[in-house]
Symmetry: C2
Subunit: 316 residues, 2 copies
């Protein structure tokens, strides 16, 4: 019986995968370095990863109900093609059809941050009946995925939540995208590390956050600057979407309390500014995913489940 689902999260450096049963109970998980030398290398890695997961779960391709895949790029959900996945050197690549050709089950593809937003939503559902949230991924880049009334909101071109490339400082540095003063050029992982010229190289984002936490003055100034822009991005998200939660995840947030405390402080400062800010920017709206929860693979699994035909649609 085809009752297993695989969720895959392709990252720039690492790919993670999880296989679960229909109740969502894990049967096996796996991770491997992403090899994007060529599209064929990437596909080979996925094929081998899936084979390996099936073997770990003592299952065969016939046992697969569906596969969900999160990928850093733009996605045409209907055709399962990937576009402008620059870091993976993929463009106009029919990844769903290629995996389907080998594993003979439906393959659902989604942008990685949007898939992770669905995973973040599934995580929060375990604790509270949240219906609207924005998931902000802070890593190599910055983007948000938005859940409105329990469903992923993608926008007209699948670009809803691309807040990393809003100009927040017209006098800021030029972003990789070409635009000056993008949020991503201030507050993404590489941007934080690049600005930390006062630390001995190689600088990690976590090291900067920890140095600030330990009282290093230049690190404190830098993290305050980053947190100020992140707090204002939270304000934009709450004032545009009026969601119940803004959930942070991604590599930068692994600094844990060292990441969260300066951001919470900056939000507290904004709250003091006005009764409206005090009402809208409550600390309870802010959340951090646990470091051991993989929102990407979990979200890919939920999206794959949601795309399954319902009993009515199949005529039962």
């Amino acid at each position: 019986m085809a009752d297993l689902t695989i969720g895959i999260d392709i990252g720039g450096t690492k790919t993670a995968a999880l296989i679960v049963d229909q109740q969502g109970q894990p049967r096996a998980e796996s991770a491997w370095p992403t090899d994007a030398t060529t599209p064929d290398h990437l596909l080979d890695g996925l094929n081998r990863g899936i084979d390996d997961l099936l073997q770990q779960a003592a299952a065969a391709p016939d046992d697969l109900l569906t596969i969900g895949l999160g990928i850093p790029g733009r996605v045409n959900q209907e055709t399962g093609e990937v576009f402008q996945a620059v870091n993976l050197k993929l463009n106009h690549y029919p990844i769903a059809a290629l995996l389907n050709g080998r594993f003979h089950c439906p393959v659902i593809v989604e942008n990685d941050v949007r898939a992770a937003a669905v995973g973040a939503f599934a995580y929060l559902q375990q604790h509270e009946a949240v219906r609207h949230l924005a998931y902000v991924s802070l890593g190599t880049g910055i983007a948000a995925g938005v859940i409105l009334d329990g469903r992923l909101y993608r926008g007209v071109h699948g670009m809803a939540g691309e807040i990393g490339h809003v100009m927040v400082d017209p006098e800021g540095v030029v972003c990789q995208c070409g635009q000056r003063g993008c949020l991503e050029a201030i507050a993404a992982g590489p941007a934080i590390a690049r600005q930390a010229t006062f630390l001995p190289p190689p600088v990690t984002t976590a090291a900067v956050y920890l140095a600030a936490q330990a009282g290093q003055l230049q690190a404190i100034a830098l993290i305050q600057h980053v947190s100020d822009h992140l707090a204002r991005a939270v304000q934009w998200l709450l004032m545009t979407y009026d969601v119940e939660k803004v959930v942070f995840g991604g590599g930068v947030t692994r600094a844990g309390a060292a990441f969260m405390e300066p951001l919470a402080q900056r939000l507290a400062w904004l709250r003091e500014q006005s009764p409206l800010a005090n009402e809208m920017l409550t600390e309870a709206k802010l959340d951090l995913l646990p470091a051991d929860y993989n929102a990407g693979t979990r979200g890919a699994i939920h999206l794959a489940w949601q795309a399954q035909p319902t009993p009515t649609e199949t005529g039962h």
Copy 2:
């Protein structure tokens, strides 16, 4: 037969009303100064305005199918109560029940900007099959109303689109709300007039825009500053919601081309910054409501229609 609908838009200084048949054809329209001396004065004005409209349309209260009402404040749609309508001195005011008690038809109440967003959507529908838009009201204040997939999106607390009170300049002036550097404190009508100390008082927003259009250097600098912040707000709206259109309306936009051209220029400047900005911030996404189209009354009518029970619900 109850087939007439009234749409009312209560403004801080003027109230406008329109009565239409089931095809949306106007039977009569009316406008009167808003008298908010006390809640009773406001209600008297509404009662007399509705009586007057009915008389003009040679109709009686029994001919009313429903009434839609846009009001500058927060609204509990289920109870039809208004909260924090500061300019109208109303709080916790059961306006729907009071009008219903006199005219005996369902009364639907919505925040004025959100009602106008529905009206802007109805206007665009006449020309193109837009499904997602943000309507930005620029007047005494700044706020947006958002239509996603053809429906008004309100957010969890009915605050979605309250972009006037996002901090866009931490060094800016203090806003009426108490927060420093709100978008509203830079780009709303009173803010523009206040900054135009180089013009002889009393200064109107239109006069500042026209002075800039005529080449007055200080006016050009001020309007460029305002347009820069508005263009970045457009970018935020497009990158968060990924809507098809950002439609401007409200008193400030009455300056027409003198308003639109500096904003379009600033968006063109943003487009030059990156391929992504070039793709997302196209001029075709920007729209201005015609000065003679009352989005507020039209939107209130559509909301009132949408709240009508469908034939199925009434058991036919």
